[in-house]
Subunit: 335 residues, 2 copies
């Protein structure tokens, strides 16, 4: 298995992105995001996804030359059209724009249409939190979960992120609304292992820990059962009506996570409190949370903690990349 | 079991509220909220909770004369102090204020400290949605759930609401972050019935459907397991730092849902789209969602649908109130 440095991985991404018509600046930004996602342990939205990302460029779902344009604005609320540019590029731009609006109005909200898969949304929450902002963003997706009590997928797993700044490591929750992603299910299926908790329904309509069965039925469990199914509907509704873009229903026509709708909200907590007060308040809440006695064999942690540890580990030990995945990246060329 | 009309129930609430020093206007507002919550089938935050609400007035946790004051403002972001006034009065005022800010800035955010239990947050989302706004609000609470992997409660069930306007009935998701509320668990315990899904941990540390055991361990399951536990931490963090108010940790000192922190966000989708376009978009998404084939014995519904049906049913058939609960209300007096 190839072991790479951050620099080697990043350089390879840049080389390939330039080959596929991204500008130098955009190639560097995209490469940083794919590299960082890999470094923090989310290879599924980093190196493991890079070749699939390039395939979407090849099939014209992603336009490497597209630039997001503002279609509507009303003070702290804006509507943008990503024109099918690369999801991560759009996301980082819209995050910056939401922050500018928060600077001016205390809170800023950008609704974006026609974007593409943004890889790891936590990346954008970390960016915003690093600058001192509270951040919330979400996207709709193709239908992958049934409504509660139903058999057929009609709603997305619509990932949502919440971020809060903290000097010693931001607190960032990055969740999809299915209990287990299809990526996780695929891993369990490949390894023939049982899921640790019910992850969906089997063919008899019973709750199941069998990833292969859940893959077949396409009935993964929403988080909180009826609650997560409802939440996914609401997030799709809000993203679609605010952006004027495609809904999960619209995305079902191609069944590709392309031309999706997203919402970015930044809030500036520094308008009313000093940095010191905010930092103390966050640390006090966190200490209390982490003071709970843990169950045997369990470690109590906070959202975002694992990210920092993975990053440190990979920087020190090198980034392990699957041989087949790496070969596929090396062989990417304009055909 | 007494069967009451809307008018009778409302008049009794007003009579008692006046007795406990609420102004005429505030008594009418509070009565409308308690009555409406009962009508729509959420008696736990309506008639069944009324006597407990008055007890908090008696014990000075709720001040019937308090008026929320604005402590900080920066364009679309405001910070208010509820001064321990009645939760529902504060909530309806802050909802209106968030709407005014959304009128002026497209989006408005109000962070409130020192409020009290707001009963059913869906009420405020319905109010905002009736006026055409997208609405999100949440509150922190006393610690009632453990962090993931832990044994002791260190985080709230921090209810959150999302609302989207729709002529034929708003779409409003009103959820607490525990899979089952303690109220629901109490019902199952009383009836000796098994929960339909795992609801928490038993004394051996195993997932359990036994409400009595979960009551004992104080380890109800967060929605989505580790995901809901993380979300509850983030909602507490955001509400606390934006409002400058009490965190779940602070509330743990009294262990009473009083002087809590809340966030109200309103967004005006009409700034960019006509009412007709919005309505069509919402209905199209909803039709698609509801078009999924249902499982045997299950009905596919959307968040908020049940509310309308309960309302119609109770208006037609009268509101059934538990005899003991009604007697307790009738006997409330200033001691």
């Amino acid at each position: 298995m190839p072991s790479l440095t951050q620099k080697e991985l990043s350089a390879k991404f840049i080389e390939k992105l330039l080959m596929f018509n991204f500008s130098e600046e955009d190639s560097e930004t995209l490469s940083s995001i794919f590299t960082e996602n890999t470094l923090v342990g989310v290879s599924s939205h980093g190196v493991n996804r890079f070749a699939a990302f390039i395939e979407l460029v090849k099939s014209s779902h992603i336009n490497p030359k597209a630039i997001p344009i503002k279609t509507n604005a009303f003070n702290a609320l804006e509507q943008w059209d990503a024109q099918q540019g690369a999801g991560p590029l759009n996301a980082i731009k819209m995050t910056s724009r939401a922050i500018e609006l928060a600077d001016e109005f205390g809170i800023g909200c950008v609704a974006l249409k026609n974007s593409n898969h943004w890889m790891r949304p936590g990346y954008y929450a970390w960016e915003a939190a690093n600058k001192g902002y509270v951040f919330i963003c979400w996207t709709n997706t193709i239908p992958i979960m049934p409504p509660w009590g139903a058999k057929q997928p009609r709603t997305g797993n619509n990932p949502i992120v919440f971020g809060v700044p903290r000097d010693k490591g931001n607190i960032v929750l990055d969740i999809a609304l299915s209990q287990f992603s299809y990526g996780k299910l695929a891993n369990y299926r490949r390894e023939g292992k049982e899921l640790p908790y019910f992850g969906g329904y089997d063919e008899e309509g019973n709750l199941s820990k069998d990833a292969a069965q859940i893959y077949k039925t396409m009935r993964p469990l929403p988080i909180g059962y009826w609650k997560g199914a409802g939440l996914s509907l609401l997030l799709d509704l809000i993203a679609t009506i605010l952006s004027g873009g495609n809904s999960t229903k619209d995305l079902s026509k191609t069944n590709i996570d392309s031309a999706m709708s997203q919402v970015y909200i930044a809030i500036d907590p520094n308008k009313f409190s000093s940095k010191e007060i905010l930092e103390n308040s966050v640390n006090e809440i966190l200490s209390y949370y982490l003071s709970a006695k843990n169950m045997q064999d369990e470690v109590v942690s906070y959202p975002g903690e694992r990210i920092i540890k993975s990053r440190e580990y990979n920087l020190k030990n090198g980034i392990q990349v699957d041989e087949i995945i790496w070969k596929r990246i090396l062989e990417l060329k304009v055909s």
